[in-house]
Subunit: 314 residues, 2 copies
């Protein structure tokens, strides 16, 4: 599900979850649906549409079930949601998601701040969620996203052995895949290549997505390094919305528009029509008037003479 | 001179030329000198300090000879200047530069717009400058910087054969080296790797620097690709100042701060102390009040737990 079938790489759009939960404004349900429709129309094949958490904690995500109900009407699109625990996982599965992603922090300090759980408790949560999935919705795919995998704003360096051990434990506990997240924007290309090479050697096809941030400008270089290490699924957020509200100073997902442009320019097929992706950005802007939108491609435009792949989307 | 001796890569700071000539404000001579002093104090080993062009065309560069006189007082620093023609080359050599760089555009349309010369005329200019150098200042190093090497905002695609042929012709005409410039911010990492691999295979040690722009966000990814192709000299501009006034829409040199951070984080030694580099940014800001400064590292700061290489500079 996370390995691209028809194209060379899979861009997993996380803006409707990671982006929207990181800003104070709450986008209306109708605007969220319109934005998701725009993303699907551009050819995006996987979307993290919301987070099944307490609406007291994240009121921006209170309509997650409604958004899932809307998004799953699109055929050929994998609809994902983030869940922090088994309660959220059950709600997500009952809402009809195709895939859930559970953040598991490699930094004990970040894990306690984010979900008040130790590594071992999180691995047990993965195991319980996988058992629930087997009973309730066996078709649902579970991803353990190892956050702070490249460093932590609270703890600083995170030992690479800990990151790999935690990924392996999550897959052993029943996750279908485990990806690595640069939650805090501290990764560098050498580290990304080294860690993903090791992850893929340990987990094979259970090695998951690269989730990179652009906090220090290295987002695309890190995606390039991950690609060279064999990664084929990349999280990105339209207009660079998002970050992590519990990792201070760690803002800025990789911008989907810029990432798709990089790959398409290199001849690596994403399946996404860039012009339509830029149109989806307008839907995002309409739902968040006054919010700062990021990205270098959108103001610069496609280069003269650039011939995008001809995608016939939907 | 352009191949780093003591460190792994050479960062060639082009801000005092490329940056300052691209903005309408003219920085005072005293502020330029203070900025250059700050760059040198951080460990920068090569600086393009000005452009020897008509002050009517670029009044920002009118004090180029004074700046050279100041900069060459620093030992261990290669002082470069841009020259558009033999007249500028003679002035630069008489001022005492160590190295001159001559932009030679791979796009005929851009070449005519920029210097009103054809490829053949530019190669003849290189030959004349090399002969003058042999007579006047044989220690001066000549770089032919192939501009619009990755695409042109006027012409669109630029054939790779043309780029390589022009580089080879410039070296045959007497240039010590030939680098490639993404003047227009149209390069992608696959193209960068392909072209620099080919350039190095044709020219060996006469293959020069990668001069990348961040117009569409790919600047650092392109530098990473160039590094992987064997390039060891990288042009960058502090605070991302600069672009090309004759290639519309092509703004944004790679930001020195972000590039140095990328390499240092990867364990690739630049010789530049990041904290002191950030201090030099303050000297730049003091000389250009109100001017927009770019870069992701400066606002984010160094990651927690990041241990820079200990450089004892000057």
């Amino acid at each position: 599900m996370s390995s691209p079938s028809r194209f060379d790489v899979l861009i997993s759009e996380v803006g409707p979850r990671d982006g929207l939960q990181s800003i104070s404004t709450t986008m209306s349900t109708a605007h969220k649906c319109a934005w998701i429709d725009g993303l699907v129309a551009s050819g995006v094949q996987e979307i993290e549409v919301g987070s099944f958490v307490s609406p007291k904690l994240l009121p921006q995500m209170a309509d997650a079930a409604q958004i899932v109900t809307h998004a799953i009407q699109h055929s050929g699109v994998t609809v994902m949601a983030l869940v922090p625990n088994i309660k959220g996982a059950e709600a997500a599965m009952r809402a009809g998601v195709h895939k859930i992603t559970l953040p598991v922090s490699a930094s004990p300090a970040h894990s306690m701040a984010n979900v008040r759980k130790t590594h071992q408790q999180m691995v047990e949560e993965v195991r319980a969620i996988a058992q629930l999935r087997d009973d309730l919705a066996p078709q649902v795919h579970i991803e353990a996203g190892i956050s702070t995998a490249f460093g932590c704003t609270l703890q600083g360096l995170v030992p690479e052995d800990d990151v790999i051990a935690l990924s392996v434990a999550c897959v052993a506990a029943g996750a279908n895949e485990s990806g690595l997240s640069d939650t805090t924007g501290m990764a560098n290309p050498a580290q990304v290549k080294r860690l993903f090479t090791r992850l893929r050697s340990e987990l094979g096809d259970h090695a998951g997505a690269a989730h990179m941030h652009n906090t220090r400008g290295l987002g695309l270089a890190n995606c390039l390094a991950a690609y060279e290490a064999g990664v084929r699924t990349f999280d990105a957020s339209q207009a660079g919305l998002g970050g992590c509200p519990y990792a201070p100073g760690a803002s800025g997902n990789v911008v989907t528009e810029d990432l798709v442009f990089m790959f398409e320019a290199m001849g690596i097929r994403t399946g996404i029509d860039i012009e339509r992706l830029l149109a989806a950005r307008n839907a995002l802007a309409a739902g968040l008037p006054g919010e700062a939108l990021y990205g270098m491609l959108p103001p610069a435009g496609l280069p003269k003479g650039f011939v995008p792949h001809p995608y016939s989307t939907h």
